[in-house]
Subunit: 394 residues, 2 copies
């Protein structure tokens, strides 16, 4: 499978351990996008919707992403942002369980998922509640009063990974609808949505799938359920016949009904080119490579940086494709690392986060990153004013 | 002001009368986007959010679009699709009038606006109703039972234009919230949102503003209202402190609270470059040029094509920047025109639609288009099987 490093544009000397936040530019993207601009939009203008099948992109890309997450053909569609797709899945899940009032999630979920739930609950104003448990206690909290369980499989802070199979089965046992957010899973770990039996999954494509900043989100609906779903955001491109311009909404057949408005063709085109790097990748093999890299990093860092405490599960089978260390001065230490071209990121209050992406990272990169981190920690060179000023985004 | 035709990539020999559906590629876009890909995403990766201020794009572009629609600084933000922005405006409007149950629109509104209203009503399940009147009767239908009036200023089929000022005033008189959809207005006709007093406006940027397929939508909120709005789609980038990763939603100050998820940076960058073509454009002057072109087209077509019936208002002050003709075989006639590189579009059941965009169209183009249309009509060359097969998008 590997190495595929040559498929990516990586700045000389940079060791990029932040593909779990924003993947790098695949070399195929600029040329493909330039061609789309000039030969499709520029040359065909409005005719591009037909000639270049821009209209078919959301479903076509859905199938390509679907293959990486164990979803059958025509069960995944691309569009909007992850927040919007979370909203659609949640609204559909609550529709399916009108007599239950609890949305259950965990305290490790990414905030936007919780905010969207909060907004939906307020809007519905029907006595729903968002209940948060710690990740460790979530399985037991899945009871028959729960309408929807909404979890991000891999915790954005710690990398701790839920067991998708057993939690999905637990939800099914008590009749709760299961929504998985795969933001840190798609392209990071093997996922088998079909086997899990979950009702919905959502995710983004700008992390491990390298679609670029603002790349579209995706939504999966279990195929046997799609025809009963009345989409909450009933936009014209989810209509059965968008170009009939009817006054009443009629949902499209199949997963297309989860589309909302005009697709972001430029973003989709960049993603389409970036996905070429995934052709022929075996997810089990990728997972082995990812575990080898993260185990190596933990070993090298723990041997030389006693100030850092592993914040990720020690068992590699219980974490995704990232490793986090807690350190009270983690913000400054991460800035010092970034200044030396080792790019990870910081998550408040004290998490230094490192992503492992075997498509473009190898053991030498990991050794160099650990060496530089050890140097920063042993010399205390992070302890300088310029590393302590907080910027808006890290 | 004009000509600015040289700023656009227009295929040789093509006369493009569909800028009201998808604007052409501005010459500045490919270079700017390539630079963004290589020098921002490619070189800076995650740091681009800060270094290249991707995070500030939605508000920065909001100000640029705002200048074209009479909106003050910091009252417009870009993001998502028009459907999603319609949903946000509608939900906020209904929140503001909890005791009223009617959303009023007209039968000429673009379907997605109606579908989003229908979906929101179903979701709220509180007895709201969507009431449709004909465009001609809309003013009288604005009564004290109406919670929200939602209108597209310029009718996508006929080009008929509502009087924004008098309708907004009528809504204000009876205490209804006014939402204007400016899809066919922004960059087409002078708009003064501040003077209108309306509460909300939404629109897209891929038509007259030439942002490209999938370019982001925009939303305007009257500045005195924004702090009381509890956004329906409460995503993390509308949070007061997105990077504090709090468990509870707290809306950002000002228009930023109408943001939802991660901005589509590639689309925004293309739009940003395309908007350069609008620098220094006087909207009154542009409007004069647009009227001159459309008047010329109507005169030339009516003189030679008696089969076609003007479907747009004859008074240029009552139409936007497009002209429509009704013809029972309009689909085939439009295909015949397109085959001769005059690009307009067809809207069911019988509308041939032509957009006038003075940034890149002049009187010679209009004469040539009218000549070719007259030739097709007088020779009956549209009456051929290849022009009658319907494709998915027109």
């Amino acid at each position: 499978m590997l190495p595929r490093k040559s498929l990516f544009e990586l700045p000389d000397g940079m060791i990029y351990l932040d593909g779990n936040s924003l993947g790098p530019l695949a070399r195929s993207v600029p040329g493909r996008l330039d061609q789309m601009l000039r030969d499709e939009w520029g040359a065909h203008l409005i005719k591009g919707w037909n000639l270049d099948d821009w209209m078919g992109q959301p479903a076509r890309l859905g199938d390509r992403v679907g293959r990486l997450i164990g979803a059958p053909e025509a069960s995944v569609v691309l569009g909007d942002t992850l927040s919007v797709k979370v909203f659609q899945a949640l609204a559909a899940g609550l529709q399916m369980r009108p007599d239950r009032k609890v949305i259950l999630s965990d305290t490790g979920n990414f905030p936007t998922d919780l905010y969207m739930a909060e907004g939906l609950i307020k809007q519905l104003d029907r006595g729903h509640a968002l209940k948060l448990e710690t990740p460790e206690d979530i399985a037991e909290a899945i009871t028959a009063e729960v309408a929807v369980v909404m979890l991000t499989q891999v915790d954005y802070r710690t990398g701790r990974m839920h067991d998708m199979q057993s939690i999905s089965e637990r939800a099914a046992e008590v009749g709760a609808v299961m929504i998985w957010d795969l933001a840190h899973s798609a392209g990071a770990v093997p996922v088998d949505l079909t086997a899990s039996g979950c009702e919905f999954a959502v995710g983004c494509t700008y992390k491990y799938l390298n679609g670029g900043p603002g790349a579209p989100a995706f939504i999966y609906v279990r195929p046997d359920l799609i025809e009963q779903i009345d989409p909450a955001l009933s936009g014209w491109l989810g209509h059965a016949e968008p170009f009939a311009f009817e006054h009443q909404y009629r949902p499209a057949q199949g997963i297309e009904r989860m589309r909302v408005g005009t697709p972001s063709v430029l973003q989709m085109t960049a993603l389409e080119a970036a996905l070429d790097a995934w052709d022929g990748v075996d997810m089990a093999e990728l997972r082995d490579a990812s575990i080898a890299l993260s185990e190596q990093f933990i070993m090298q860092v723990e041997a030389r940086c006693p100030e850092l405490t592993l914040a990720s599960p020690r068992d590699p089978l219980r974490r995704g494709s990232q490793v986090s260390f807690a350190f009270d001065e983690g913000y400054a230490a991460m800035q010092a690392l970034i200044a030396r071209d080792v790019i990870g990121d910081f998550r408040a209050p004290n998490i230094m986060r490192f992503g492992f992406t075997p498509l473009y990272l190898d053991a030498d990169d990991v050794t160099r990153a650990a060496d530089i981190l050890a140097d920063i920690m042993t010399t205390g060179s992070w302890d300088q004013p310029q590393f302590k000023t907080r910027s808006r985004v890290t």
